[in-house]
Symmetry: C2
Subunit: 322 residues, 2 copies
């Protein structure tokens, strides 16, 4: 079972999002059309659209009105991925060739910009400036997060808070915004919007911590990339920060993780040292705490099927076995 199974209640709606994602690429330029369509078809968990849909389903069975928003949020996410691939020189993402590897840097960069502009066109259809403000603010903070992530590589002195502020911007913010906007364009009140915004935030935090754990413990097939990819790039996540602070091999780890060369060449050894510490368990507890906080936000929301789904997603993350 994966988190995707939690989306079964909205599978039909997600299929419509998928259709509209493809349809929304409507450039007359064949090269741009191919690259953007490749980006869409390369897939992804479609987490952000799923949260837009579930948030809206709390207030109405019919969610046709939120489809453009769901598509727009996935496009904002895709734009950031295609830019990341340029910077990180990534050849594969989710086991598929990246736009960068197939078309090069220039097309990747402009495909990202095009997809972002297109998402704004879709958001404009709502004729709501409060929505644009939420999205533009999130976009600014996501950029800050990307730079913070870069600065924190190989930094063995970073603390838990540094990590949390970073994943907040990297992941939690856009999931939070997805839940918030799904509610804002539906018949909801301010309390409900705030609750969903917070739910998305805590759930996004739990999700990213879990994702970071998987880089240590999952197999390559599940991940779509080799185990220890983060370590190889000097990305120090929660289990590593714990091991650096409290693990038996903390001195050795400090030397290894502060060196780009050692991170790249001895990633497997580093992964072993971290999994031997209590870092994974600690991160798991942090993830659970976030997931529980997410669940608590649901109390004030309408008792409908979508609420159960939102609850189940959080429960699944907190109850995940490694």
């Amino acid at each position: 079972m994966t988190v995707l199974d939690m989306f079964n209640p909205i599978n039909k709606d997600l299929a419509m999002v998928e259709e509209q994602l493809i349809e929304s690429i409507d450039t007359e330029l064949p090269l741009l059309d191919e690259a953007a369509t490749h980006l869409v078809k390369a897939g992804g968990k479609r987490l952000r659209p799923a949260f837009v849909l579930l948030a809206a389903k709390l207030f109405s069975n019919s969610v046709e009105h939120v489809l453009p928003m769901a598509v727009a949020l996935e496009m904002v996410h895709m734009a950031s991925l295609v830019h990341d691939d340029v910077i990180d020189n990534s050849v594969l993402r989710r086991g598929q060739p990246t736009v960068k590897s197939e078309w090069g840097n220039r097309i990747s960069l402009y495909t990202g910009n095009y997809v972002l502009a297109k998402s704004l066109c879709m958001v404009a259809t709502y004729q709501r400036s409060d929505i644009l403000e939420v999205l533009a603010n999130a976009s600014m903070r996501i950029c800050e997060g990307e730079i913070k992530q870069m600065q924190s590589c190989y930094d063995v002195h970073q603390g838990f808070k540094d990590y949390l502020r970073r994943i907040e911007k990297k992941t939690a913010l856009l999931i939070s915004v997805s839940c918030q906007l799904g509610a804002m364009i539906s018949k909801s009140n301010d309390t409900e919007i705030t609750a969903l915004k917070k739910y998305g935030y805590y759930l996004g935090m739990a999700f990213q911590v879990t994702d970071d754990i998987l880089d240590f413990v999952a197999d390559e097939k599940t991940l779509g990339k080799p185990v220890g990819s983060d370590i190889r790039q000097g990305v120090i996540t929660l289990p590593a920060i714990y091991a650096l602070k409290y693990g038996a091999s903390r001195q050795q780890l400090g030397k290894l993780l502060s060196s780009p060369e050692l991170c790249f060449n001895q990633a497997e050894e580093i992964v072993s040292l971290i999994t031997e510490s209590d870092g994974i368990d600690y991160a798991y507890q942090v993830s659970c705490t976030f997931a529980e906080k997410a669940m608590q936000q649901l109390n004030c929301l309408p008792d409908v099927q979508a609420k159960d789904a939102l609850y189940d997603i959080a429960a699944f993350i907190s109850g995940r076995e490694y």
Copy 2:
């Protein structure tokens, strides 16, 4: 005399734009703050803010209400420049080190994205979705233009129309949008908005043709970059297209311009062959025709000082001596 002297009537307003450009960079992240501030302080002609201001001045003496829009449009432009510098590996722009050369690709890319997101925040303050739509649509078409420009490099078979469609997206569109939005947020009617949109379009076309001529005939000091920079990169502009079609040395030029190596190493010779043809004169005539069309659009607009300035700018471009 340069086109900047035409902006004397709005120098005070442009100084306020400059202030607000600096102030609008309000990130807590020192690195992002430095890079974005560097980008702003590296200067530029501030053409787009100037057109927003002049368009608004047609309808009201006080233009404080358009300052955020003027700032936003310059930011959209700056975001595209900083991304271009990443792709083109540019070390200098306007004689100053680029963000790319000082901070590298990653910071440049995210600085561009940050500045773009910030510009959207400023646009959101107008609470007008029609404005967002105009801007988002323009952004999409600008991306298409960038890709078209890339595809047309070293293509000696391109026609005049290919060139015109390309500079339309590269330059005319954002100047057109600047004039249009300046009017849309002022007390103007639909006829006036359309006239300004068209004025900006024709003026932008004239401006880019002139700019492309300068790459052949200006000196390095005026340009802020070496003469023949376009040729060196295989960018084939109007004088070159004319020379390829009608010049005495068209066969030799065809061989030279289709080879990246020869473009890079024999740029001076290529520049000579093109200036010996009537390509510069032809391009100059095209620029004049566009500038005259721009002037014609002004007929239906209020007879105030700003209209004279808009007229003078077009007249200056059409009367420029080479």
